[in-house]
Amino acid sequence: MTAYHNAVSPTAAARPSALVQALREGAVAALVMLGLSFPILLFRTDQGPSLQLVLTPRVGLVATLCALAFAARVLVHLNAVRRERAAAARAANARTVAKGAEAAPGAVARIMGTIGVPLFLGMAITFPLLASLAAGSLNGARYWIDLGILILTYVMLGWGLNIVVGLAGLLDLGYVAFYAVGAYTYALLSTTFGLSFWICLPVAGVLAAFWGIILGFPVLRLRGDYLAIVTLAFGEIIRLVLINWVELTNGGAGISSIPRATFFGIPFERGEGGFAATFGLPFNAMHRIVFLYYLILVLALVTNAVTMRLRRLPIGRAWEALREDEIACRSLGINTRNTKLTAFSIGAGFGGFAGAFFAVRQGFVSPESFNFLESAIILSVVVLGGMGSQFGVAIAAVVMVGGPELLRHLTFTKAIFGADFDPNDYRLLIFGLAMVVMMVWRPRGLIAHRDPSIVLKERKAISGSLVKEGNG
């Protein structure tokens, strides 16, 4: 950044030199791009006929990327120059502009609070109806409802993890372990003992919460990054145990043919005694999907309601105090051990519920569903949501989980890049890039303000940058 300030002086004579400067910066960017892509993009290694690796050069691709890097850098530079000039002009006739800009964020937040949340909730409740109207029939909407289920699963996981990260400030990178515990609890109990989903769901939550305490206990003393790494290690250990303990978990092959969800005991089946026959409806396989949608919606809303209530209880206030200053907490007589453990176990418990739901929805669990990437996605949903903002987490889940799904529909890209181009291959690539861009653009998340848990007389929004986070 210092390069800009030195190079761009806000005088009238700077105009031609700014362009030259921009072109020079662009050339550097293009050169860097060339360097980055030189071996790894320029040559693709493929298995040749005699099992030898052969190199295929891709000059066009690299040239295009370099040109793009050049153009992007020039534009960014010119934009920075323009902004600098505008700032200089503003400084010249100061005071007049300053006020209008101030009010904007608060207003956006207020509109979000009053209209956004009910709108979002209404959308979520009527989503299967809207989707089937848009698609023409219930069966046509299957893809969209499945996507809704996926997003809501992440909303629920995000809200669960939010208790640990957003409220208690404990950075947990192994949250997926509890998700796995919940999923395997339901999978094992239902396939070996034939227990129904409605019995297993609470069991899964309780077991996951129990694991939360077990894994939380040794890491009580750790803070910040160290805590993150240890929880990451625990997450990986649980996954590796699931892979290697073949007698119990069937190893990497996973557990299949897990019983499906029932409508409180009435199975979603064709014929006598099934859901459709009992309620006098024509049979449709979509009933089960819609039921699953509402199930996860209710589970997510329960998570939210519990979190909101807990925030008002002494334990919730202790969590937030712990996040702000652990030492002050201890001197005020808060039992930090129990406070941390409850945060861990309650968060884990919701992860367990979500896991049981995952197992009943997929009908199949394998350790591969519970890798580190999954933890990273959930954490990024929480952080991008603005940590502590429940609504922000929901929006972030839609953006981060639903956004990459859109790639499946970009069929026009096939026309540009050729028939064997599949935009879906780029899903995770774009996901990773989006994480970086979002952090650089809005490190405090999408909703960067906080609603205070308790208020005196007047409700004020708290800027996210005043809140400590993740210092463990």
Binding site: T2, V32, G35, L36, F38, P39, I40, L41, F43, R44, T45, D46, Q47, Q52, L53, V54, L55, L171, P218, V219, R221, L222, G224, D225, Y226, A228, I229, V230, L232, A233, F234, E236, I237, L240, V241, N244, I327, F372, L373, A376, L379, S380, V383, D425, Y426, L428, L429, F431, G432, L433, A434, M435, V436, M439, V440, P443, K468, E469, G470, N471
Partner: protein, 305 residues
């Protein structure tokens, strides 16, 4: 006994690779207090760069001497990976300096996801295998039909590691860059007041870390002859374990930790179960962090109120 000596040799080889990666973690953590999650993936990228340069030299340019080819590959891989390290720091971490603590970490996780999928898209999801590059071995001694062998590859890896670590040690201890680096590590603000270009120093730290990761990547490619796009994560976590075990922020600690982790992994595989070798490494990480967070050679962290 024979098995033990053999595993000792294998473990030290693996350990030197971990040690080289661990230095990148430990330096970055020392200077900006951030766990560079993407470092394992930078290592993976460098292994791919080494693979491609090796193929380029041997099949296209017809370099027949393997030794010369490997030397050129090593230098080029270091240079190219250093460029990656510089770019990543510039684009993904520098804008977040001074932001709240979680931001660079999330950004690093994003970079890690990006890099592994970038390589998957650019090079395909399959593992890339080449026929063994050097297969000669020296048989040290033989008893009861079990020969303890030291392969040329292992000798090369240990020798290259030793030479480069010595050079690196010299850079950090004796040059002005190393002094600037240590100054930033102790107190960034004070260093800036005394005229040290902190941004440049941090950039160079990333460049050095990436270059050492490239050495590790080239050695990994030479040793196993197989690279895949997902090969960065597990070695990355193990190298981080090594950095923590040796005491994060301490350079000799990182190498020592790397050797210990390498030995534990191979001995565990030989005497207990190969399936649980990663569990052993991750457990060490958890145990060390919980019971001796300052590691073997690290300074204890003092908490200020």
């Amino acid at each position: 006994m024979e098995v033990f000596v053999q595993q000792l040799i294998n473990g030290l080889t693996l350990g030197s690779i971990y040690g080289l990666i661990a230095i990148g973690y430990t330096m970055v953590f020392g200077i900006i207090g951030m766990v560079n999650f993407a470092h394992g993936d930078v290592f993976m990228v460098s292994a791919f760069i080494a693979l491609i340069f090796f193929l380029l030299l041997t099949t296209w340019l017809g370099v027949s001497s393997v030794a010369i080819a490997l030397l050129i590959v090593l230098v080029l891989a270091m240079a190219m990976t250093a460029l990656w390290g510089w770019t990543l720091e510039r684009l993904a971490y520098r804008p977040l300096r001074g932001s709240f603590r979680l931001a660079p970490m999330i950004s690093a996780i994003g970079v890690s996801i990006f890099l592994s999928n970038f390589v998957q898209v650019a090079q395909g999801a399959r593992n890339k295998a080449v026929p063994p590059i050097i297969s000669d071995v020296i048989v040290l001694f033989e008893r009861d039909g079990y020969a303890v062998a030291l392969s040329y590859k292992q000798i090369i890896i240990m020798a290259v590691t030793t030479v480069l670590l010595t050079a690196f040690w010299f850079v950090v201890r004796k040059t002005s860059l190393g002094r600037a680096q240590r100054a930033c590590e102790q107190d960034r603000k004070m260093a800036a007041l005394l005229g040290i270009d902190v941004d440049r120093t941090i950039s160079l730290t990333f460049v050095l870390g990436a270059a050492l990761a490239a050495v590790a990547g080239t050695m990994y490619f030479l040793y196993y002859g197989v690279v895949g796009f997902s090969d960065g994560f597990v070695p990355g976590v193990k190298a981080f374990t090594a950095a923590v075990l040796g005491g994060i922020g301490s350079l000799p600690g990182a190498v020592l930790g790397g050797l210990i982790i390498g030995l534990v992994e191979t001995l565990w595989s030989a005497y207990f179960s190969i399936e649980y070798k990663d569990v052993a490494a991750f457990s060490i990480l958890a145990i060390v962090l919980v019971f001796m967070p300052s590691g073997i050679l690290g300074r204890p962290e003092v908490e200020k109120v």
